[in-house]
C-alpha cells in the first residue's frame, strides 16, 4: 500500500510538470529537535509536492526518520486536496486531507479530516477544521508482540492554524509567527498548541528558502504549563511552474 502510494506520488509529479496551466512546487526540508519524550534528538527529512490545477490544489508529502527513538524509515505520508471557493467577496480554500503516521513499529496512526483556510491574504493566514484519529497496532505489533487488534478513536479534534506574516507574501523576504496544533505530518490534540517563528527568503525567481523555529509547551490548558520541546526546520521551495 505504502509503495503504491509513493509510486503514484512520483508519477503524478512527472505527469503534472508537463501541463502548461499547472503551477507546481517542490519543498525539501530537514528538521532537528528534541522533546521531553524523544529520548534524545530527532532528525527527519521530508519532501512534499504541491500542484495547482485551476481551482484545485493537490499536496502530497513523505517524511523519513534519520534519528528517532521510535524510528521508522518512512514515518509519515500525507495527501491533501484543496478547492478554492468564493462567497460574496470572501475567498477561501476547502481542504480534505489524509495523514498516515507510523511512530515506531508497533502502532499506526490514521488521520483524516477537513478544514477551511485563508486564500490570498496580505498578512493573516488561518485554517480551521476538524480531524479524526485512529491508533491501531501494526502488523508487526500483532505478529511480534501478539497485540490484540484493539484501536483507539479520537473524533472531531479541532485543528487550527493562526499565522501572521510581517510582509505581503510577494515580498522577497518575510517573517511570520504561527500558533497551531498541526503540522504537515503531525496533528496534536486541540488543547495542545505549538507555536513557531518562521522566515522565508527568495533566492531566485524559482527558489526560496524557509526556516521555522518551533516552541512546544505542555500542560497549558491544565494551568500548569511546562516546557516540552523545540524543533528547527529548514528547507527550500522550488517553483517548478516556469520550466
Amino acid at each position: 500500500m505504502r509503495i503504491i502510494f509513493i509510486i503514484s506520488n512520483i508519477s503524478c509529479f512527472f505527469s503534472f510538470t508537463n501541463l502548461v496551466s499547472a503551477q507546481n512546487s517542490l519543498n525539501l526540508s530537514s528538521e532537528f529537535g528534541e522533546t521531553q519524550a524523544s529520548f534524545g534528538n530527532t532528525i527527519k527529512m521530508a519532501v512534499d509536492f504541491q500542484y495547482d490545477l485551476g481551482n484545485f490544489n493537490i499536496k502530497t508529502g513523505l517524511q523519513a526518520d534519520i534519528k528517532d527513538y521510535l524510528y521508522n524509515t518512512l514515518s509519515a505520508y500525507t495527501a491533501q486536496i484543496s478547492h478554492s471557493l468564493k462567497i460574496n467577496r470572501f475567498n477561501f480554500n476547502a481542504n480534505v486531507f489524509y495523514l498516515h503516521s507510523a511512530k515506531g513499529q508497533l502502532f499506526n496512526e490514521y488521520n483524516y479530516g477537513f478544514s477551511f483556510s485563508s486564500l490570498n491574504t496580505a498578512h493573516f493566514d488561518w485554517e480551521f477544521g476538524t480531524h479524526f484519529r485512529i491508533i491501531s497496532p501494526s502488523r508487526y505489533g500483532v505478529n511480534t508482540f501478539q497485540l490484540s487488534r484493539n484501536s483507539v478513536y479520537e473524533n472531531w479534534n479541532f485543528i487550527y492554524v493562526i499565522k501572521y506574516r510581517l510582509k505581503p507574501v510577494q515580498n522577497c523576504w518575510n517573517l511570520s509567527f504561527c500558533m497551531t496544533n498541526r503540522d504537515l505530518f503531525y496533528i496534536n490534540q486541540e488543547t495542545n498548541p505549538y507555536c513557531y517563528l518562521g522566515s522565508t527568503f527568495r533566492i531566485s525567481s524559482r527558489l526560496s528558502s524557509f526556516t521555522e523555529v518551533w516552541y512546544k509547551p505542555a500542560g497549558m490548558s491544565n494551568f500548569r504549563v511546562n516546557y516540552f520541546g523545540y524543533l528547527i526546520r529548514t528547507g527550500i521551495k522550488w517553483n517548478l511552474s516556469k520550466l
Binding site: A37, F107, S148
Partner: protein, 282 residues
Amino acid sequence: MEFKQIVKSLLQFGIIFIISCESDYCGFFIYNEDVNDRVRQSLTYNATTAFKILYTPSEQYTLFIISDSHVGGTHNIRRFLSDANGNNALATVLVGDLCNGHTEEYDTLQQVLNTDNTIPYFPLIGNHDLFFNGWESFYKIFGSSVYYFSVQTPSSTDLYVCLDSGSGTHGSIQLQWFENLLKTSRSKFRHCVVFTHCNLFRIRRTLSTNPNMEEINIMNDLSARYQIEYVITGHDHIYNEIKLGNTIHITLDALSDSAANASYLELIYRKGSLSHRIIPIN
C-alpha cells in the same frame, strides 16, 4: 481601533493579570515548576526510602483506586476509605488531583487519611495538586511523586508504577527512569499496572489537556513492548475504558463531593489474572 492599539491593550491587560493574579490561572502562561525538578527531588527521596512491598498470604487481593477527590469536601473520600477498610482492600491508590493545592486542603487530606484509614495508600500528583505552590505541601506530606510498589503473593509478584504527570508531561528524566525500570525489571513481575493522573486519549471535548502526541506515542510503545496490562488515569472526571493492543486504558470518575457520578475502581487479582469493576459512590 487600530491593530497596534488592540495589541497594546491586550499586552497591558495580560501583564496586569499576571502580576495581580491570585488564582493559579497564571499557570496557563507562567512556568512555575518544572517536572524534571520534581522528579529529581523524588528520585533523591527514593534513594533513601525503600519501595514498598505489600505481602499477602492469599492468591487474591484487591486495590481500591480513586481519582480527582479535590478535597475541600471530604464526604466522598471518607465513604471510599470506609469501603476500602471495610472490604479488606490491600491498599488504596489516589490517582491525582487529591486537592486544589492549598495548604489547608493538604492538611485536611492528611488528617482524613490518618484517621479514617488503616491500610497503605499510594498518592499520585495531579495538576490541581500543584496549584499555589502545592508541590511543597505534597512533598512534605507524601514524599516522592514518582515511585513504584509491588504486591507479593505466594506464587509471584505484581508491579504497580506511579508516575507524575501533573505538568501535562512526564518529563525526560521520569520517562528514562520508567523505561529503565521496565527494561531491567519487568520480566521479574507477573502483572504490571501504571498509574498516572493525565489521561492519554481525548475521547470527549473538554478544556483540560492530555500529554502531547509525541509522548502518547512513547507511552503506547512502552505499554505494548513491556506488556503493561492497565494504564489507570484520572483528570477527565468521566469514566472511560478503552483497549489499545493488549493494554486497558481506564479513566476514572471524579470522586469529589460535587461530582454527579462519583465512583471508585476495584482492581482485583484472582487466580492469576487481573480484573476490575466500578463501584458508584452515590
